[in-house]
Symmetry: C2
């Protein structure tokens, strides 16, 4: 497959230019003011899929942001790969922590710095270019379909319906996704599990207006103090979640499997150093990798209330808020967990305040088997391009729609991620090493080759 490296070398500057064009559109799905940018980004993807060699491509409107679909059918009797990616990105605040402008990509120390550089514009666009490479070098061994959505970061609220309505069009043998990480730049890995998600927002109301904390302090419940107490009581001294029933459905991983997982390379001191923390934290009785891989968690993603500006303001706030999310593992049901959370949070509300609980979004966990053809093809592809056998890992992250794909389309997904933990996705200064971008474009054609071969029998 000498043609692969040669094609990438000859076109690498253009590949990057095109990716930068994609990144420059600020497609933040959670902020309604970016509605038009979503459409622009979808159109950009459509054009690029067509230019890469698709038979057809279209922007499909939904009740939310549009979905881009494109395909190249070389022979209906051959296997079909459905590439899934998302063109939306996370918000960029706190903006003052960015060293460069989030939507103006720059290359520094061999990395692309920008919102979406990895998640999921950088990783997604590798697929467009691997596709182009196979078309232009006449090496595409099977049919290919693209489904690029614009609402992954807000829980894919409309993609399930899109799949329901287009089952025939989306028919495929495997769904291929690059939206996860590898263990390290020289340690390839395949993600075999994703956590589910239940994302809640709570609002605690005390008095109907902000009060003077001198005149009323001590006599009227302060919703910020109460919210702190309520959040504190969501976990116990062993860092276990206290919501009744929370762990009821958690799939218990066997000691054998835990021993096997413990073999993945992990240096605790490096982990702590990379985050500048003195101690790790988590549920008693589990290792760091187990805490994100096989156990659920509960995090405050945002908290606010009262005066947050410069200096002092002696106010007793009327309201305090928090965004609280739970990562879930097999067989926890995200809807059930959201309901348990709401019920429990309301049950611990003292009579001095009122609370409102809203489920913002969620999704099921996913386990990808290692005995399917797609896994074996991915294993061979990484081995070929990296010279090393990839390690199967459970990721702590969530791609809520993946489990929905299996349910609606009846097709498994293979998670070939090329991100690194240091890519700071969802954070200021998100970045993606150029090396990973090109290595991804190089690895994917191998996957198609082996997948098509093995599917033939």
């Amino acid at each position: 497959m000498k043609h692969v490296k040669e094609y990438i070398e000859a076109n690498k500057d253009r590949f990057l230019d095109e990716l930068f064009g994609l990144i420059r559109i600020p497609s933040i799905s959670s902020l309604s003011k970016h509605k038009e940018d979503m459409l622009k980004t979808a159109e950009y993807w459509k054009t690029k899929i067509l230019e890469a060699g698709a038979d057809k491509a279209d922007v499909f409107s939904t009740e939310g942001n549009p979905v881009v679909y494109g395909e190249k059918i070389i022979d209906p009797s051959l296997p079909t790969v459905l590439v899934y990616a998302h063109y939306d990105v996370m918000p960029v605040d706190p903006l003052d922590l960015w060293e460069t402008k989030p939507f103006e990509p720059v290359i520094k120390d061999g990395k692309i710095y920008a919102r979406g550089a990895d998640d999921d514009k950088g990783q997604g666009y590798m697929h467009a270019k691997a596709f182009e490479l196979m078309v232009k070098t006449n090496t595409l061994p099977c049919n290919i379909k693209f489904m690029i959505e614009g609402e992954e970061e807000i829980g894919s609220p409309n993609l399930g319906k899109f799949c329901e309505n287009n089952k025939e069009m989306l028919k495929s043998d495997i769904i291929l996704v690059s939206d996860t990480s590898m263990i390290g730049m020289d340690i390839p890995s395949i993600t075999t599990g994703l956590r589910g998600l239940s994302f809640m927002e709570v609002e605690v109301t005390g008095p109907d207006k902000d009060l003077h904390s001198g005149i009323f302090g001590g006599a009227v419940a302060n919703p910020a103090n109460i919210l702190a107490k309520m959040i504190a009581s969501l976990t116990d001294e062993d860092n276990k979640v206290t919501i009744p029933g929370f762990y009821d459905d958690v799939l218990i991983v066997s000691d054998e499997e835990r021993l096997e997982m413990a073999k993945a390379p992990f240096v605790l001191d490096d982990y702590k150093k990379a985050l500048d923390i003195d101690e790790v934290f988590g549920e008693k009785g589990y290792s760091t990798n187990e805490r994100t891989g096989i156990r659920p968690s509960l995090d405050v993603n945002g908290i606010w209330g009262g005066y947050t500006g410069e200096g002092a303001k002696t106010v007793l706030p009327s309201k305090a808020y928090a965004k609280i999310s739970m990562r879930l593992v097999p067989n926890q049901n995200n809807k059930k967990i959201s309901e348990l959370f709401e019920k429990y949070f309301k049950s611990i509300t003292p009579p001095y305040v009122k609370v409102k609980v809203t489920a913002l979004h969620g999704g099921q966990s996913y386990v990808s088997p290692t005995d399917i053809i797609a896994y074996k093809a991915a294993d061979k592809a990484y081995t070929e391009s990296y010279g090393k056998k990839p390690i199967p890992v459970r990721s702590g992250g969530s791609i809520p729609i993946i489990s929905a794909f299996e349910k609606i389309l009846g097709v498994k997904s293979i998670l070939m991620g090329f991100g690194l933990e240091s890519d700071a996705i969802h954070s200021p200064n998100e970045n993606y090493p150029l090396h990973q971008f090109y290595k991804g474009i190089e690895t994917l054609p191998y996957f198609y080759k082996y997948f098509a071969e093995m599917m033939k029998g």
Copy 2:
């Protein structure tokens, strides 16, 4: 004293125009971008004191915002009243809760709506106009001095030094202040106690950057969750503050005094209704008025961290913050309490995070005796203008500089407040009834009359 009502009636529109001019300057002392507005407000006061009839008035610069000083000495052998007020105001956020623009005063339902309408532009300016009234009607019975500062809302960090440096100039027999409230529009009261204040800011740092809450959630301590636990542990189930030593110096009020205080008119249902709360809250064993009048308290004035925008962002924040203040009672020392807070907060910090604790400002509590001439003169003044004897009350609020005045200048203060609890000071839609503004201007000349008479013996 028919001339008092007549003069007010003849000039009431101009009085209001002048107050509106004062209010329109956005003199927020805690925000550094308003530096120039502070100077403008000081100049405005100076001009108005001179126009009202002062012999001289000047703007004195300090290391912070300037102090306005003015005086009219009619006879050095007569008693002297030093009027203290402040021209700075609180910040205005949350701005979206204001029904009108905070610095564009409007009259609605007989009330002035604006930031500073009561605290302390409305209440302070009554003194300028009562002074003018006495000068123009030739009824000023004693000497008068004005000291108007611009840093009360941030703890008067430079006024102590100003007093130290100008003891001779500021020499007086009583300090007269209108920066407190009455029980109700038809229930005059004199504030005989103020709580002290210790205002802290805390910063909790987990990892050195925001992290993806899926990839790291459950394995890295979340500073927002930790901060919630730390705040929760600052008070116990009886709503007592848990900081060791916090109550050590609290002056215990006798049962007799508590019985006397309980006679002040108070309707719990009205109180709850006015705040739209189902239940009051507070330290076990004390009534609502005792909780703010004779007991210290601890309140979160602001809390923030992580993603606080629209929708969901699955971030594990690097930092979380809170502004936490404690209201103090006689004989608690605010510096000692700030130190106890810092020591305790650090002691409960778990090893997974780092904390920073900063004391933002503070002040001592104050007790005003009811057996001094100024109290008796104030009592007679209210009785004259309201037709009712005023009730002595302990306020939950703080005017940190008042106790410093006694220490530095050796002079007591008399707190003749005309505000109402419904004035929403420090809150959106701050307001001040026109009735109170004019009633204040009417009552103050009586105070001067009786004070001068009683001082003569």
